[in-house]
Symmetry: C2
Subunit: 219 residues, 2 copies
DNA sequence: CTAATAAGTTAGATTATACTAACAAAATAT
DNA sequence: ATATTTTGTTAGTATAATCTAACTTATTAG
């Protein structure tokens, strides 16, 4: 049995690791607003339960089982958000807090019914994919930046595969997850892409970089 | 702040006291399947919070505030049951477990929305009244047995006012809350009522008794 | 009315989840 | 390359909610 508290840690770890495959005690601590020693001991506990790979001083990863459990919680969260908006008439900015609570309800039938009433959606209206009932996240809703066309407007969602060097490179360019990019041009010779975002009116990204950036088209 | 656990104790106490105004540690212990010492210390805690009247070795009662809090939880439970049946297509026997969980969601907007979508119901399809948003239970859905007609079929819901003697009398006749009674005849002379229920094909209840029994008509 | 039974209480232990203080390791900056 | 800062860990404490064992009070049955 996984407690509500444990579920929150799994979800946090899932979301934090989605981009780079691993996360730190410190990151979880900040996200959940829980002190590091508490996070630390919870990670050991989840490790005993086979949900997290934990080794002293090393980055945290979810096990396959942990990933599945986390994805199923996120599935419940996103289905709930969809339901609240589509069937109950809530605005998108009102539903998160409610979904944070309903995601912990234990009732497969309840969420199956929601899914059915919603017509088996695969993405929520923000474009975030809804994992299926086996916890498998369709990643098709995110595409690699090197498959986009001139004029596309996209949001940076994930980096895959990830490396410290790449993350430092992106960080130096002020490219963060969630950044919206406009594709200004694509150089046919080497497939480098010129984009604008934030304060940058023009930045060139090599194909080596664009092949690792997962983005979600806007609109 | 009232914890989910505390809410469950309040609800149990509310339901147990609904008929006779008070309940015992033992009754709560049985209903919640929690040992008596645990119930005892929780009652002290709820007493400190002003929700329960607790005195050693005396019966338990809810304070006005405790009654209101409990009624609001029951409101959330019954609205949820209604919603699950009316709007999501669940059968009545499937909704209790789900409602037991959703009743603890903290979100006035969520339940207000449900209420609105259901058209502000005042009783659930079992005939149980739904307390209003101030925790006031309309008790009109229960009537005294002495106001019924020959041929009525009713369920015994509460006893008001209650006394030890009356409860012993009812107990001796195997008359419990929830018992379904069929009214066979009414004697005009003294208003005594002959009923059948369970294994008893015929039992006579005096008007003194029938004037204290609150019942819910079936159908 | 007393003896037996049931109900209520107290004391102390246990588990889950959080914390602070203190120390250790790793990363960073000069 | 070392000093400083950040991150991670350990140890010990706190609170909520549960339990068992032992004792007390109240109720019930002869």
């Amino acid at each position: 049995m996984i407690s509500q508290t444990e579920e929150n840690y799994l979800k946090a770890l899932y979301n934090l690791t989605y981009l780079k495959g691993e996360a730190s005690v410190n990151e979880i601590s900040k996200r959940l607003e829980i002190k590091m020693p508490t996070v630390n001991s919870m990670m050991k506990k989840l490790s005993e339960k086979g949900l997290v790979h934990y080794e002293s001083y090393k980055p945290l990863k979810l096990t396959e089982e942990g990933k599945k459990e986390a994805a199923l919680i996120i599935r419940k969260h996103r289905l709930t958000e969809m339901y609240l908006v589509e069937k109950m008439g809530f605005a998108w900015d009102e539903v998160h807090q409610i979904a944070e609570q309903i995601e912990h309800i234990h009732s497969p039938e309840f969420f199956t019914k929601m899914d059915q009433l919603l017509g088996y959606p695969t993405v929520d209206p923000h474009g975030s994919p809804i994992p299926d009932h086996n916890g498998v996240m369709r990643s098709e809703s995110y595409i690699f930046l090197d498959t986009c066309k001139t004029g596309d407007v996209v949001t940076l969602m994930a980096v895959q595969p990830s490396s410290k060097e790449l993350l430092q490179y992106l960080s130096a360019k002020d490219l963060e997850l969630g950044t919206t990019l406009t594709i200004l041009s694509i150089e046919p010779f080497d497939n480098s892409i010129t984009v604008s975002y934030g304060d940058r009116t023009s930045a060139v990204l090599s194909s080596k970089v664009t092949a690792t950036l997962l983005v979600r088209p806007i609109s």
